[in-house]
Amino acid sequence: MNFLPNTDKDREDMLKVIGVGSIEELFSDVPSSLRFQGGLNIPPGLSEYELAKHMAGLASTNTAQDFVNFIGAGSYDHYIPSVVRHVLGRSEFYTAYTPYQAEISQAVLQSIYEYQTMICELTGMEAANASMYDGASAAAESVTIASGLTRRKRALVSKSVHPEARTVISTYAEAQDIQVEEIDYKNGVTDVGCLAGRLGNDVACVVVQQPNFFGLLEPVDEISARVREAGATYIVSVNPMSLGLLRPPVEYGADIVVGEGQVFGNPMAFGGPYLGVMAVNKKYLRRMPGRLVGMTTDGQGRRGFVLTLQTREQHIRRERATSNICSNQALNALAATVYLSWVGKKGIREVGEQCVQKAAYLAGKISGIKGFSIAWEAPFFNEFTVKCPVDAGKVVDALLEKGIIAGYPLGRSYPELKDHLLIAVTEKRTRQEMDDLVAGLEGLA
């Protein structure tokens, strides 16, 4: 199958206009020694039916979709309403490029402006960009912003931040000679004493996650005060879904808020594409990476939307740009915009409350099982850590037989937590599913 409309006759006519005898002549500037001989060693083309069948076969070789999922750890199984897929299926949105020609891109531009507004509402921050690749890369780029602004080269990152986000931060930082130091956790949250000991006027930023990777609420005010004293930038990575219920990070002094926006209308999809949320206060605006949409008017005074402050970006500023980002996650941001419009002012609070109630119910039940306990005391949103009587990986394996993926074994990222299991719920998990998990765990006790 190919998608070529031209006929042999068309091609002949076109070659005549060009003034060459064959398509081959158009490649005469490729040295013959570099011409690829023979055919590429990839399977022959398929018809649409054959392709559909092959792809369905691969999809059904996966079986995870048939299990009840209790893994969170940065990707959450929230309900995605049908309107999201409907709107994203409009090819005016999905077959468009970046909205450089504003007059014929008002759909993309206005929807991004709506998205930016919603992120500002949730976080309390003054401006949000059009999206980053994901929460982890947004965190990494925010460290770059902080180092540039403060002209300091140390970044303190709590060990209760998502392990993959910490790895990405280190990957980005290393190239810019930013030294990343990890701050230990104590009782499941950032050890503020340890943080205070490491802070100083050479620290560019402190990165924490709220709720943290273990699901727990961090002492964000206490951390904020310490960060302020040191004159560093306070970077907070949030679960944006929690912000319908929890206070916005502006209230505890965040300078840059990042987060994984997958929770808003984007499927788990084996890890991507997701949505990097980034919001800042005005002081940081001109250093923010990525695209930004602003409201303006045309010559007749009609309202319209354009990409703005583009002089921060690579296509104008080249090696002096605030970042190299070009393509972003626009369609995932649109999914978030549609989701947030659907769930609305009241619904987002209700989703948050259901998460808290269900997580509390499940944690309560599990803590009653002999040998299992809730690892730490701090309050949590939709995710919590269970200390198991055996290796947590074994617990997960055992529960697979019951059609349940019980959670994320923390030993995969924290060798000291081999018997700890991270369990998440969403509004989708029913009492029956949670009771089944509990019954399964009881069988192991």
Binding site: D10, F93, T98, E103, I104, R291, H315, S323, V396, L400
Partner: protein, 487 residues
């Protein structure tokens, strides 16, 4: 003329709702028993309150204000706006791809891992490389990955003096930005009179302080660099590596392979070359392919096959680390994989051959009015300049682009590459018919004539869009990046 659409906030009304959630089926506790009161939000986030029909009409009406590949011609240079096959969208929506968490046990995701493993293989074969990482989320992200690999390679040999990356003046803006973010100093190499890299300047710039050269071939002028073999010898001769920017790979599929040209590392833009949609700016996918000696530095994880089982391999002690969470933009990989399986080796080669034919056809049709800075056959795209038109009428590239909007065509890339005055960069792609190419050429000629006869009409275009030219300077000066509820 289409009418503007209010903001979703402006059609919001207290008490309306679209959502429905299952009733809470566990015993409800008082929220204050579960969370400290101080942690609970005092003011609700002011999200819209709309009905489902309001919501659907809002986004549907809004969508009608946008141009897309499915609506009309989109010859945006260096962006490869080819047709996005619908079956690929459909298969990417299968629950077996959508509803799997990235951390599920590997035995529950064998289909996804197999797809990734085979996609790695196909891309390596097309590139003429040995190993692939699918993790980068976009082209620029792939560039940064490649640059970090080059950096890690030199450091692993304790060769710390290589602090520079050479980049031709015609390069995409992401190249220098990626090199800078990767910790390098950027040295620009000029182009020669044929539009390729100036060999003498390259020889002069290339020394033991240079880590590598980033090159797009064919370059942003749409010209294949005839001296690529000499370039390869110069850079490798001084111990540098060659990076291939795959943004223009749509010209060479099955025709010439970057690995065979001597490149050591490259990225592909799956959302350009392999037919996945651009989504209004993303998501893309920017896999990186390397020669065998750079494999130890790839980001983790990659997918490997062990005794008939696919698994994620994190065991790379010299890895640069991770570029993003998890494994990359998986659903984009699904679509790119489906595209390669549809076309097969013959289809890919025909795609490139026809992309090049289509570009050359438009080029030859418009030369009476537009000027070609380098008189050669182009590859998949070309750059012309309306310099005569500008000189005689004052009408500029921007004006011509805006006038194109009235004809239902997306304008070519404007003012890039910067080495051509008033550049118009045209990339038709292979999925456009001769009729479409003729229409576009006719319109460009009509606009050129109009510029001579009635320049004001071109300078004041567009005339038929929902808004006219927007005040960009005003937008930056009076920054308004979020809606505020009127008092």
């Amino acid at each position: 003329m289409r009418s503007p659409e209010p903001l979703i906030f402006e059609i919001s009304k207290p008490g309306r709702k679209a959502y429905s959630l299952p009733a809470l089926d566990v015993p409800a506790k008082s929220l204050e028993d579960l969370l400290p009161a101080s942690e609970i939000r005092s003011e609700p986030a002011d999200l819209p309150e709309v009905s489902e029909v309001d919501l659907v009409r809002h986004f549907t009406r809004l969508s009608q204000l946008n141009h897309g590949v499915d609506i009309g011609f989109y010859p945006l240079g260096s962006c490869t706006m080819k047709y996005n096959p619908k079956i690929n969208e459909e298969v990417a929506n299968l629950p077996g791809f959508n509803c799997i968490h990235p951390y599920v046990p590997e035995e529950l995701a064998q289909g996804a891992l197999q797809l990734m493993y085979e996609f790695q293989d196909y891309l390596a074969e097309i590139a003429g490389m040995d190993h692939v990482s699918l993790q980068p989320a976009a082209g620029a992200h792939g560039e940064l990955t490649g640059i970090l690999i080059i950096r890690a390679y030199h450091r692993s040999r304790n060769d710390l003096k290589r602090t520079k990356i050479l980049i031709p003046d015609a390069a995409h803006g992401t190249n220098p930005a990626s090199a800078a973010l990767g910790g390098f100093t950027v040295v620009e190499v000029p182009s020669d009179s044929r539009g390729g890299v100036d060999i003498e300047a390259l020889e002069e710039a290339m020394d033991e302080t240079v880590a590598g050269l980033m090159l797009t071939n064919p370059n942003t002028l749409g010209l294949f660099d005839e001296n690529i073999e000499r370039i390869e010898k110069i850079v490798h001769g001084k111990g540098g590596l060659l990076y291939y920017d795959g943004a223009n790979a749509n010209a060479i599929l099955g025709i010439s392979r970057p690995g065979d040209m001597g490149f050591d590392v490259l990225h592909f833009n799956v959302h350009k070359t392999f037919g996945t949609p651009h989504g209004g700016g993303g998501p893309g996918s920017g896999p990186v392919a390397v020669k065998a000696f750079l494999e130890p530095f790839l980001p983790v994880p990659t997918v490997v096959l062990d005794n008939g089982k696919y698994r994620l391999d994190y065991d790379k002690p010299q890895t640069i680390g991770q570029m993003k969470s998890f494994y990359g933009n998986f659903l984009v990989m699904v679509k790119g994989y489906a595209y390669i399986r549809s076309l097969g080796p013959d289809g890919l080669r025909e795609a490139s051959r026809n992309a090049v034919l289509n570009a050359n056809y438009i080029l030859r049709r418009i030369l009476e009015y537009y000027d070609l800075p380098y008189d050669r056959h182009c590859k998949h795209e070309f750059v012309v300049s309306p310099s005569r038109i500008k000189r005689n009428t004052g009408v500029r590239t921007l004006d011509i682009s805006k006038r194109l909007l009235d004809y239902g065509v997306h304008p070519p890339t404007n003012y890039f590459p910067m080495i051509v005055d008033e550049a118009l960069m045209v990339e038709p792609t292979e999925t456009e018919s001769k009729e479409t190419l003729d229409y576009f050429a006719d319109v460009l000629i009509a606009i050129a004539k109009e510029a001579y006869e009635n320049p004001e009409s071109v300078k004041s275009a567009p005339h038929t869009t929902v808004v006219g030219r927007l005040d960009e300077a005003g937008a930056a000066r009076n920054l308004n990046v979020r809606w505020e509820r009127p008092e």
